[in-house]
């Protein structure tokens, strides 16, 4: 397949497109994991903890409460459905690494009946064991070969018992090695055996769990309530003692009675993930929960519900008795806008991905994201399409690759390629601005051109880096302003900066007005913030470090204003006292007005410093936040045409149909007068018998047909003949 579109590309470009795409995808995937790291960590802990508690139950010591309550994590994921697959994928990966190999991931499209759902669940639970744990393969060889009809809960139970006993015997033989399940590549190695259950500091044995599964905590901070018990994982063993005090007395006693339990008795829970709970048929969900709760005493099942809206949706769709069986806890995943911000920062605002996007396509992608689906997956898809269009449609993109690679390619440029570069409009205008002597050399001498291209490309890179850094600075500066004229997110500032010169834009002027009135208490943290942003970049760029130094000095001056202020401040006070002698009210008013004017004329030290600071910043912005098409060779790295992408991403079938019917010469491109056109429409309307298709259009056409027959006063057959001539 790829061979075919590669024909379109020069060989060098063909290499970079997949590279760039792969880089984008991998970056966004990594981000996916890191964005949700927090909530995943909570989830994993919850599941481990739930597994531990059910272990205790299964081992014969029936606790009095919560026997049939299935611990359930309700992960509120948001409405960006397309992204959810990826979210749960990485959750499964985490769980397999750290908690349990027995995971079933159910999707509503597989579970139209209870039977199908159970089958799917059991086959996944049992099948995955063999897949993940090659060590156990010989013992559970029966697993995958069981026939479909035999997938019952009883089979599952006996299978699980087998596993447990097998594990126990293994445990006792290889006790000295610690947990046998600790595998290489386990990401939780550093916290010891992942199956060490007592270490988990979270002991929600208290009553809230019994309250019918209603969400226990407010959504905003789902897992914060216990304060100290929720320590980072690394500290587990150290905190164990203090943590124990949090457990219920009953449990603590039990732990004291059986000191061996944590090591030998822990068995991995069976995790059942329902990706889109809202989509499940209510009766299937209901039966599934009831069946699982029946076997709760034998199987440590834990549910994870993926909910797009709110956790209430689950209760609404479940009946009383089913929702009584789940003890639900709500976890809030990060909103996808948050994820998007990271993707933009890591993919678009970096030099690591050589491809950059211009203002209009960027705005388009943002619009699609914010106004249609909120799905980062689709955003990345749009980005990929932009890349494709960029690489396929622009022959100069053979230079669009990472810096070291580019140096090689510039050296190896053929004359034809050089010509392509020379023909770029931005390069031409660059040449025209050179002195005439250089012009000739640039256009004729290969070596000079190459070296110029090299320097220009490097400059372009560093310009973009500076650009992005300054965009962040602008965002830090203006995001807290009232009404946020430039928007609160970096992405909005970026969109503005990419599409027009910032300093000239209305929005910035408005922001500037407000900045001029900013109080010191507000300005100081902003300035500190800006300095921090600049500090990150200043190592790489001279101009930014210059700005950094300048601003740092100003910050120092701002901080030391306190002493200065008192010195300056005394003289006007005397004048004011003098003027109060006037007894006339009118005069007094005038005087006061005058004084007010005078005062405003004379800025105090802070005000002058503030305007100085702003001037510095504005100057910098003016210099660097220019439109990208002012940069020579920008065509190589920047994609700046939205219409092609828009056409492919936002299908307009309806508009195309209307145009084709009402205005066919748009497609046929004949200079037809209107009459021919309508006749064409008519003939199509009649000739193609679309009873189901385009009904309204046909009626429209037929209406005209009718008119025509009235007018011409002939039979339809005649009319048709006339029409088709």
């Amino acid at each position: 397949l790829s061979g075919n579109w590669r024909e379109l590309l020069t060989t060098t470009t063909a290499d970079s497109l997949p590279l760039v795409m792969a880089a984008t995808v991998s970056v966004s995937k990594d981000l996916q994991d890191s964005i949700h790291a927090k909530v995943f960590q909570d989830l994993v802990e919850f599941i481990r903890d739930a597994g531990m508690r059910s272990n205790i139950m299964i081992d014969g010591i029936k606790s009095k409460e919560g026997q049939s309550d299935i611990p359930t994590a309700c992960l509120v994921t948001g409405v960006n459905m397309p992204d959810h697959d990826a979210i749960f994928g990485s959750l499964v990966r985490l769980l397999v690494d750290g908690v349990t190999p027995h995971i079933a991931k159910l999707q509503s499209r597989d579970c139209n009946t209870v039977r199908g759902a159970i089958f799917k669940m059991i086959s996944q639970l049992m099948g995955q064991n063999g897949f993940v744990d090659p060590e156990f393969e010989d013992e559970i060889i029966t697993g995958p070969s069981i026939k479909r009809a035999q997938f019952t809960m009883a089979v599952l139970t006996s299978w699980y018992k087998e596993i447990i006993s097998a594990e126990d015997t293994r445990e006792s033989t290889s006790k000295s090695h610690g947990s046998p399940r600790k595998r290489a590549g386990c990401s939780h190695k550093d916290m010891g055996s992942p199956y060490k259950p007592v270490g988990s500091p979270y002991k929600p044995v208290g009553s809230p769990r019994k309250t019918m599964g209603s969400p226990r905590k407010p959504m905003g901070s789902p897992r914060m309530p216990k304060g100290s018990p929720r320590k980072p994982m690394g500290f587990q063993s150290r905190d164990m003692k203090s943590v124990k005090d949090f457990g219920s007395p009953e449990k603590r006693m039990r732990l004291n009675d059986e000191p061996r339990l944590p090591r030998g008795g822990y068995h991995p829970p069976l995790v059942v993930i329902l990706e889109d709970v809202e989509n499940f048929p209510a009766n299937v969900l209901h039966d599934l929960i009831l069946i699982c709760s029946e076997h709760r005493c034998n199987l440590p099942i834990v549910f994870v519900f993926g909910v797009a809206t709110t956790s209430n949706a689950v209760h609404r769709s479940l009946s009383q008795d089913a929702s009584a069986c789940v003890a639900m806890e709500t976890f809030q995943a990060q909103p996808s806008t948050h994820y998007l911000n990271h993707v933009i920062e890591k993919v678009l605002m970096t030099e690591k991905v050589p491809f950059h996007i211009g203002g209009r396509p960027f705005k388009l992608l943002l619009d699609i994201f914010l106004y249609s689906d909120l799905s980062v997956k689709n955003f990345v898809k749009g980005l990929k399409l932009c890349m494709m269009e960029h690489f396929l449609g622009n022959s100069s993109t053979f230079l669009c690759c990472s810096a070291p690679e580019r140096a090689l390619r510039i050296r190896a440029m053929t004359p034809a390629q050089l010509d392509i570069i020379r023909k770029l409009p931005s390069f031409r205008s660059y040449v025209e601005n050179r002195p005439p002597k250089e012009q000739a050399v640039l256009l004729l001498d290969e070596k000079v051109t190459k070296s110029t291209v090299r320097t220009l490309m490097t400059e372009l890179d560093s310009w973009y880096l500076r650009f992005c850094c300054l965009v962040k600075v602008v965002s830090a500066l203006t995001s807290s302003l009232p009404h946020s004229p430039l928007g609160r997110q970096i992405r909005e500032v970026l969109a503005t900066c990419l599409s027009r010169p910032l300093v000239e834009s209305e929005e910035f002027k408005e922001a500037q007005k407000m900045l001029k009135l900013m109080a010191r208490e507000e300005l100081l943290p902003i300035l500190a913030n800006i300095l921090e942003i600049l500090k990150e970049q200043s190592g790489q760029d001279e101009e930014l470090s210059e700005l950094y130094n300048e601003l740092a000095i100003m910050l120092g001056r701002l901080n030391s204003l306190d002493q200065l202020d008192q010195v300056i401040k005394d003289s006007p006070a005397d004048e004011a006292q003098l003027s109060f002698q006037s007894s006339d009210r009118f005069h007094l008013k005038e005087k006061l007005l005058e004084m007010a004017k005078k005062k405003s004329k004379k800025p105090n030290a802070y005000e002058s410093l503030r305007s100085e600071l702003l001037q510095v910043l504005v100057n910098t912005f003016e210099q660097h936040l220019q439109l990208l098409n002012k940069q020579p060779l920008h065509e190589v790295l920047f994609f700046d045409s939205s219409s092609v992408v828009k056409r492919h991403l936002v299908g307009m079938p309806r508009a195309a149909l209307t145009t084709a019917l009402s205005n066919p010469h748009h497609y046929l491109q004949v200079g037809t007068p209107a009459n021919t056109a309508s006749r064409l429409k008519l003939s199509y309307g009649i000739k193609e018998n679309f009873s189901g298709r385009l009904r309204s259009k046909i009626q429209c056409s037929l209406g005209e047909y009718r008119y025509k027959s009235e007018t011409v006063n002939s039979t339809p057959a005649e009319l048709k003949a006339q029409d088709f001539q």
Partner: protein, 625 residues
């Protein structure tokens, strides 16, 4: 003039200066483009700079910690008007030509075009502007444009805008009409035009209630201000009407420059290849839900044409007759259509793009195009072709095709899910062969179901499976939700071919061919001839009764007892047994149906539509005479 509509109210919207500037600059400076002030939705999309209050009801999509009152991010790029976009109102609305003599006018103007002696003045106004092929204006709308101008002058804008627009007072009218004295228009022609316009205006007045496309015309509003002005208005109209010739040349260059100034709009489309001189411009449309609801929301005025086929004398032809007529028709614009297809062919390499499905839309059969693609590119790959329009196609067929014919897997599968999983397992391996699925009409009648769609979407999302599909139904995108859309991972391509849907529609019934009706009629006549006179009478009695009741939508049939009474009165039967025997015979020949009503009484109904029945009865009456 018609009495005023009580509902009409004048709405005033404040617009800022920039907008006013934009509007007055948008035209040639003299003519004021009317803003549809009465339409909130339209005025919003006009520009992103509409008052902030207008946008407050947009969904708040930003981070949670953000304030409530401010929406910052306006979707300018997604919703902005491209150059000359297709108007949403034109797409969503149901546009019946409402002017009664529109065709007559058209014909008249065409005649005028032919005879050189007639002044060419009305031509430009009655017809399309020849130089602006992209504006799909019906003659009606171009006519309607002119009556607008007086109205716009009377809309009280903000004082500021009024000043800027240079308020066209009657004075300015006079001035401009002086200019038009230079154009020598025969007096009688002007008179004629005047009369015609009067007529049009009256008609428009009465029909503007059902003005579906929300066009800017609302004369009545201006008349609300001053009734007595209407007479003057007519004069104004004729002046502005006749004025058009000098205006048109002014307008057209602007349009020309508009279209020619953006040739680089699709720079990357088929790079390096020389196609036709002029590339097809993209059809741009701004899909705003507002416009849809503006066009369709008002349930009170459902506008459908009653000019149905059955009102014609010979509404339907026999299949053979239609075929023979169609055979005599030579396809028009063949060269252009060929060029169109050629242009689509240049996009073929793009369709091979990895990781995306391709959805083709646009008017005309895309079957040939896809077949061409299949021949040229897919020869060495595994591929299956699915005819989605086939009336008995099931998902199982498609999957079996893949598993049996391509994967040579003869074993049966328990369920579709299982089969899907099997396919997925094979094709998601990194070294698996590519499989191409071509679906003609992804929106086919049997593929529309939710389960089928999600299964196909699932197929399309497998790594080495690639989908190319065409859609034709006007509402086809409705079957894809966001989840499916993202599994499809589709790129939309405009593939308008204007080719006949001959194969796709071969399974469907034609509107023009006489349906079962003709068959039933002939068999009816046949059976009828062999009946006894009494039996004939019984049937005719039933038929006539049914025809009398044809306007009742809930007519269930004649009850048996009534029928018996009537037959007895007409001396057709002497006992209910004979009647029953007779009815059984009718039933055996499928001439009538009997159905039990809610009250348990048998109702008798002739299962033919009323037109056929009417034909039958008139035929019988003719024979009896």
């Amino acid at each position: 003039m018609m009495p005023r509509r009580a509902r009409t109210t004048l709405s005033v919207t404040f617009i800022n200066d920039k907008l006013v500037d934009k509007i007055s600059n948008g035209t040639d400076g003299k003519k004021v483009t009317p803003i549809p002030l009465s339409q909130r939705g339209r005025s919003r999309h006009r520009s992103a700079q509409t008052p902030a209050g207008d946008n407050d009801d947009l969904p708040q999509l930003e981070e949670m910690d953000e304030g409530i009152n401010d929406v910052f991010f306006k979707p300018t790029e997604l919703f902005e008007d491209g150059e000359d976009p297709v108007k949403g109102s034109a797409v969503f609305g149901f546009r019946t030509p409402k002017k009664k003599w529109g065709m007559l006018e058209k014909a008249g103007s065409a005649k005028m075009l032919d005879s050189p002696s007639t002044p060419k003045i009305p031509r430009s106004s009655l017809k399309h502007y020849p130089d602006s092929p992209r504006t799909p204006k019906t003659p009606r709308s171009s006519l309607k444009h002119y009556p607008d101008s007086p109205r716009t002058t009377k809309i009280p804008r903000t004082p500021n805008s009024a000043a800027k627009n240079g308020f066209r007072t009657p004075k300015s009218h006079q001035r401009s009409s002086e200019v038009f004295q230079e154009v020598t228009t025969p007096y009688n022609f002007r008179n004629r035009v005047k009369h015609r316009i009067k007529k049009i205006v009256c008609e428009e007045e009465s029909s503007s209630e059902e003005d579906s496309d929300g066009s800017n015309y609302s004369l009545s509003e201006s008349d609300d201000d001053d009734d007595n002005e209407s007479k003057e208005n007519f004069d104004d109209f004729s002046e502005s009407f006749i004025r058009t010739p000098s205006r048109t040349p002014k307008r057209t260059p602007i349009r020309k420059t508009l279209s020619s100034s953006t040739p680089g709009k699709t720079p990357s489309r088929t790079p390096g290849k020389v196609g036709r001189g002029r590339k097809i411009k993209d059809v741009e449309m701004v899909g705003r839900s507002d416009e849809y609801f503006n066009a369709n929301g008002d349930l009170g005025k459902v506008i459908t044409s009653d000019h149905t086929l059955s009102r014609l004398e010979t509404p339907r032809l026999a299949p053979d007759a239609l075929q023979s007529i169609l055979l005599g028709v030579t396809a028009t614009h063949q060269a252009e259509r060929k060029a169109l297809i050629e242009e689509h062919r240049q996009m073929f390499p793009r369709w091979m793009t990895e990781g995306f499905s391709i959805f083709l839309y646009g008017f005309g059969s895309k079957k040939d195009l896809l077949s061409k693609f299949q021949q040229e590119y897919l020869d060495e790959y595994d591929h299956i072709v699915v005819n989605g329009f086939f009336p008995s196609l099931t998902l199982k067929n498609i999957l079996n095709n893949i598993t049996e014919d391509i994967l040579d897997q003869s074993g049966s599968f328990h369920s579709i899910q299982e089969q899907l999983e099997f396919i997925e397992e094979i094709y998601s391996k990194p070294n698996a062969e590519s499989l191409f699925i071509i679906i003609h009409n992804l929106d086919g009648p049997l593929l529309r179901g939710d389960k089928t769609q999600s299964a196909i979407a699932h197929l399309a999302s497998i790594t080495n499976v690639h989908l190319l599909a065409s859609i034709d139904h006007i509402n086809a995108p409705l079957i894809f939700d966001s989840g499916k859309m993202s599994s499809y991972n589709a790129l939309w391509c405009d593939a308008t071919t204007l080719a006949p849907y001959s194969e796709e529609t071969s399974y469907e019934n034609s509107l023009l061919v006489q349906q079962s009706g003709s068959l039933a009629l002939s068999s009816l006549v046949h059976v009828f001839k062999s009946l006894t006179p009494n039996a004939k009478g019984i049937f005719l009695l039933l038929a006539k009764h049914q025809l009398d009741q044809k306007d009742k939508s809930n007519y269930v049939g004649l009850s048996f007892n009534d029928m018996y009474q009537r037959c007895r009165e007409a001396f057709l039967v002497n006992s209910d047994l004979t009647l029953r025997a007779q009815l059984t015979e009718f039933k055996d020949h499928k001439l009538i149906r009997s159905k039990k009503g809610p009250d348990g009484i048998k109702n008798l109904l002739i299962s033919l539509d009323s037109t056929t029945l009417q034909d039958f009865i008139s035929q019988q009456e003719l024979e009896n005479l």
